[in-house]
Amino acid sequence: MSEFARELTDLIRNLAEDAGEKVANHTGSVWAQVCELGLAGIGMPEEKGGSGGSLADLVLVIQELARAGVSTPIVEASTAGYAVDASPGETFDTIAVMPDLDVLSKAITASFAAVPFADTARGLVIATASSIVTVPLAAESVTVEPGHDIADLPYGSVRLDDTSAAHIPGGPAAPEVIDRLILARSAALLGSAWGAYDLTRKYVTEREQFGAPLIKIPAVSTTLAQTAVRIRFAQSALDRATTVCADTHTPALRRFGAVSAARISTATTATLVARTSHQLHGAVGITAEYGLHRYTSKLWALRDADESQFAYCGRLGATVRSEGEIQLWENISA
């Protein structure tokens, strides 16, 4: 972790505090502020319009924004920016993965079920198994049907009808972009899990029932410990994936193993954290007024964002089977 971790974390917490109730306002003033503070361009060199800093700094920013309950399109914007090799700003692109799409022909016809922030993004970056292309979402041949996910965050069903796409030459290869999206998504998942856990830990140590804080009830302290252990486990998975992705010499198989493990571990943890934090809060946690649902609904939305948790599990399992034990040991789990 860079020496700026503390500073970045404080900056984001102050931002969230100032924003107060507006934090859920993802593409309004809070995103503008995030961009103005240079947070959207972290991990991108200054000569490309970014703020400098490392990949680890970007992962931290994504995680801490989610932990503070600030909803922004930073996962999509930073990954799309990485794909097209330009820093995102208030105007940003979103991203979708469709491995089998044929983008060799100049014009594309395809449907994307749920593209995050498609209603406000400028363009759509499409990652296939071997190519990166972009299409402008305002083009006449593009239809965007707005919708909302479980957390009430906006997405759009996008239909391309013979839409001309621009190929991005010289940028990162498609698998690197896809792995970067998985990493960024995992960071947002873990940040939301930390946010729910922070509230829960505070609640069970302060709230008194039966004449003592809830934590004095053995079943409560056990549940809290099980949650803590799994959040830290997911943190280890994310930290490993960040380190592995930051090293450009990493073999692709190890990178795939690391981001898959992070994505699966954070999603598994998300399910547990949502369940236990509601259980330990009791009825107050399910009110609209109390902030817990802002985290738990995001955990439910993000665990299956881009692709479902089980699709990532299936792909990792299939890879392990086809590569065999030696690769499992030396790369995929190393």
Partner: protein
């Protein structure tokens, strides 16, 4: 207000560039280290591979407790693979905890017969290095490193299992040393050990965590009786050990009299924080992999994500040890999740349809499995350690 907050970030990028180049240097250094570690891995693989090819051992689950072969331990010793982190002065390798991790990982992966030296290499040597005087270090460490001294752990007692501080075995001051009387139980491989680590009460006037001391006892001393306890698999590794007026020389007190509780807690982070809390059933996973098909991909992927992350946590603990910390909470957390993984590997082997006759690898692992979440700290106790740390104000 905004301006105040923006200031650090405007400084940020320049500073960050420095960080970036430092990271690049670290990466360069890391690559050298990675090469050294890789060479160690291959050294271990070569040994286990040649033994396997010659039919000298059968890979099995829970090998670090149940697969005892003095000859194999001595082969490791001859290659300098025992006491790898200990000072060169005593015959150790002078390397870091990460080096030991790659060696132990590879041995467990191979399901090799490592029980003879495992406990001494894992926790007794480090305890002697942390708390023993120079003479005691000189007396004991070379024998462990050569696999001539085999240790068993005298911690648990009939009335003190998960509640370790409840030990009743006493050590009374006598002329020239101590006289030990009491019972120890669940003492794995005591019947083959040359030495015992012993936690005993030297003062019973205070609270139960006070007045405990650590000793190293020769198993050949008169007054020690070892009786076998056969476990549910039919194997004999457990024992009950009775001490009746056993004389322990003065210099065999480890560390400070009465400081045993604090010392043993540190030892437990070595006992709990290693890859044998994750990989006890790895040979079964490798076998199951050969039988899995696409119906098992989702479950296999979920399992592998856990394996990869648990291996990372072992790495983090090794780093903490190298930084001079005793990672007590991290080790408790690793053991809690790692042993859960070991059990789920057995369920996966069932799912892919491995046979379950009494002597099959699956049955062998299953019959060993209830011990995973009990030995070295029961899961329930481990969670209470985590709770304490989470709710510390």
């Amino acid at each position: 207000m905004l301006l105040c907050r923006r200031a650090p970030l405007e400084d940020g990028p320049a500073g960050m560039r420095e960080t970036a180049s430092a990271t690049a240097q670290d990466l360069g250094a890391d690559r050298d280290a990675a090469q050294r570690l890789s060479a160690l891995r291959h050294q271990v693989r070569e040994l286990t591979g040649s033994w396997l090819a010659a039919g000298r051992y059968t890979p099995r689950s829970d090998c670090w407790l149940r697969s005892f072969d003095l000859e194999f331990s001595r082969e490791l010793a001859a290659r300098g693979l025992i006491g790898i982190t200990w000072p060169v002065e005593f015959g150790g390798g002078g390397l870091d905890a990460r080096s030991r991790l790659v060696v132990t990982e590879e041995l467990l992966r191979a399901g090799a017969p490592v029980a003879a030296h495992w406990i001494a290499d894992r926790q007794i040597g480090p305890a002697i290095l942390r708390h023993g005087g120079h003479d005691l270090q000189k007396e004991l460490l070379p024998g462990i490193i050569s696999a001539d001294f085999i240790f068993c752990l005298g911690m648990s007692e009939p009335e003190a299992g998960s509640d370790l501080a409840a030990v009743r075995t006493t050590a009374k001051k006598v002329d020239g040393g101590w006289s030990v009387t009491g019972h120890k139980t669940w003492t794995s491989n005591a019947h083959r050990a040359t030495h015992a680590y012993l936690l005993a009460r030297t003062d019973s006037t205070g609270r139960k965590h006070e007045g405990l001391s650590e000793f190293v006892v020769d198993m050949s001393t008169p007054g020690i009786e070892v009786s076998p306890i056969t476990d549910m698999s039919g194997e004999h590794h457990f024992n009950e050990v009775t001490f009746t007026d056993v004389f322990v020389p003065e210099h065999r007190l480890l560390g400070t009299e009465g400081n045993g509780w604090r010392q043993v807690l540190e030892q437990l982070s070595f006992e709990r924080g290693g890859p044998e809390r994750v990989l006890s059933t790895y040979p079964l996973l490798a076998e199951a992999l050969n039988h899995a098909d696409e119906r098992h991909d989702v479950e296999l992927g979920a399992l592998v994500a856990r394996l990869a992350t648990l291996r990372r946590q072992c790495w983090e603990i090794a780093n903490a040890l190298d930084a001079g910390r005793a990672p007590i909470v991290e080790a408790a957390s690793l053991k809690y999740l790692g042993t859960e993984f070991e059990n789920d590997v057995i369920e996966f082997a069932r799912r892919v349809g491995l046979p379950t006759s009494r002597n099959d690898p699956l049955a062998e692992a299953l019959l060993a499995s209830p011990g995973f979440t009990i030995r070295g700290g029961a899961s329930d106790v481990l969670l209470s350690i985590v709770t304490k740390s989470e709710t510390r104000p």
